[in-house]
């Protein structure tokens, strides 16, 4: 086969299998959700596609609180994770010396524990009479009735914790990529360390920040495990609803409508982010 022809066909041949796979098992299902969300009926009598949008109306009417809450929690936990992780990733990238990978590994240790177990562990740790609160209460440093579990803060803490590695890693990669000479140059141009950090390092780590934001926010906005294990009655997230509607109530149209709304909302948030902080980062990331 001639060079030119090959180099024209090659990418398609290479990309074909994966492309086909994703088309069938990722794209099509997304549309399956859409179509189901427009069906009516119940599990008993079966569903028929009626192109009725009322599920969406109900979904929003019934569950807008959970939607808002999910986005709040996701946003909060993302910001927290960012604030927690940035200094670390920065320090490892710029001052980690020969032990960079070691520090990184330590930071990523949670990766190696099933996140259900991690969350359970937190439930153990934070429970009212547990290691922390219990002891403090026994010393009467805390009121008997004080609790952390099944409060929003517990859920957000859980989300943040699970997000940490997902935030730290891309941040590290982003910071690691920064050319040290730029920092030198900033210093040469009268920028104090703080200034060169703000004016040079942070802007240049934007792609890393975006990657982290993407992974964390998206993971958390749809999560329901933290809410289930660490949360209370008023911390239900949209994930919980979708899960119940799907797996318990078999109200597929409702569940589908909720899913569609969720992914729609997520994409909008990402889009807004990209808009405000520059879309180039998306390219750099994906």
């Amino acid at each position: 086969m001639s060079v030119a022809l090959r180099s024209r066909l090659a990418p398609y041949l290479l990309g074909m299998p994966a492309g086909a796979y994703l088309a069938i098992f990722f794209i099509v299902p997304l549309f399956a959700v859409l179509s189901i969300s427009l069906e009516t009926g119940n599990y008993d009598t079966g569903f028929v596609l009626t192109w009725h949008w009322h599920e969406y109306v109900t979904a929003i009417r019934e569950y807008h609180t959970q939607f808002i809450r999910s986005f709040e929690y996701a946003a909060l936990s993302t910001v927290l994770a960012l604030v927690l992780a940035y200094p670390i990733s920065y320090w490892i990238a710029f001052h980690g010396g020969r032990h960079k990978s070691t520090y990184l590994l330590l930071l990523l240790l949670p990766f190696f524990v099933s996140f259900l177990i991690r969350t359970l562990a937190w439930q153990f740790i934070l429970s009212d009479q547990g290691i922390v609160l219990g002891t403090l209460k026994n010393w009467h440093l805390l009121p008997q009735s004080l609790r952390v579990l099944s409060t929003p803060s517990a859920v957000i803490a859980g989300l943040t914790y699970n997000a940490l590695p997902f935030m730290a890693l891309p941040l590290y990669v982003g910071l690691e990529r920064i050319d040290r000479r730029l920092v030198q140059a900033a210093g040469d141009l009268y920028a104090r360390p703080a200034t060169s950090f703000l004016r040079v390092i942070v802007p240049l780590s934007a792609p890393g920040i975006f990657a982290g934001f993407l992974l964390v926010f998206v993971t958390n906005v749809g999560d329901y495990v933290n809410a289930t294990i660490l949360g209370g009655p008023d911390t239900t997230m949209i994930g919980n609803i979708i899960q119940t509607e799907y797996l318990t109530n078999f109200d597929y149209p409702m569940a589908a409508a909720l899913s569609s709304l969720l992914i729609g909302g997520t994409l909008i948030v990402i889009f807004l982010y990209a808009r405000t902080f520059g879309a180039s980062q998306i390219q750099e990331y994906a």
């Binding site: 009598t45 609180t65 429970s127 009655p233």
Partner: protein
Amino acid sequence: GGANKKASTGTGANEIGSTAWWAKQKQAGTFQFANWPYYIDTSHGKHPTLEQFTKATGIKVNYEEVIQNNDSFYAKIAPSLQGGQGTGYDMVVMTNGWYLTELINHRWLIPLDHSRLPNFAKYAGSLVKSPSYDPANKYTTAWQSGFTGIGYDPRLTGREITSVEDLWDPKFSGHIGMMSDNTELGSVGLLKLGINPVTSTQADWHKAANILKQQRHMVRQYYDQSYIQALENGDTWISQAWSGDIFQANENGYPHLKFVVPHEGVMHWTDNMAIPLHAAHPADALAWMNFYYQPKIAAEVEDWVNYICPVPSAKSYIAKQLDDPTVAHSPLVFPTAAMTAKAHEYYTFKNFNEFNTWNGIFNPIIQS
């Protein structure tokens, strides 16, 4: 899938479940048993009663603890039943409630041949005979039952609990555990209002929902079975609870936890053995049902499980042969007449719409 339903409801001599049909079923020497976790006697990963059964009948039992809830398990088996295929199980254990009713209404269970269940006739207690959700035990026999009452930790509540009212006590705010199963939740609401769930009306449901809504801000969490950890950990001080769990907790390092039958009444539920349609080895499953109802066997299971035993005469066996008075004399395993008197059945949904209505009324309390 209406079509499938017809397929499963043929008529004539060999209608599934008819004596004629049962007559044709031969024991295959094995069957698939789907049950809930920690719901049968166990020692070193083995289940003695099952082994005895195998020894006695030569039928090997593949015992799987795959059932986590009625709903999700129903969701697992329903599609294949709807598709007219077997579920892969010959015996399932489901709590009385909508999903069991669903199975019955769809005729997705094989009617039992009571001629082959002499032990049931002989030993089953009144509490589990011909329940409202399955008259004459056409499809099911009880595996275990239990009471849904109130569990609490006196050290934390600081006083004895006697009434459903206490679940509404602001002093316990943030440490009150309620159940996420909306049937349980709704029913306790009804009890508080002094309404008998079985005869309750939709109006009552709304009233119950209202008082539950008022309680919401004090509730720590609407729990599934994990409420028991919450009680053990002291996260909740007072909680809706199942008799057996509290009993086991008492055995396993939490002797201080208490279970009460509040004076408003207690809900009585039953987990039922049933043989799903298209089961590959119905005869073997049926044989187990009968085998289980011997006092000896029931006793051995009970001595480990500690819910409410469907075979009252197992009590003496546990007391004497097994020499385990704590179990034998526990009112949580062999309830007193006084307790049974207070026991209520759940409302039985006539159709999906009722079920939906109930969900529509009570789910918002749990989910928000």
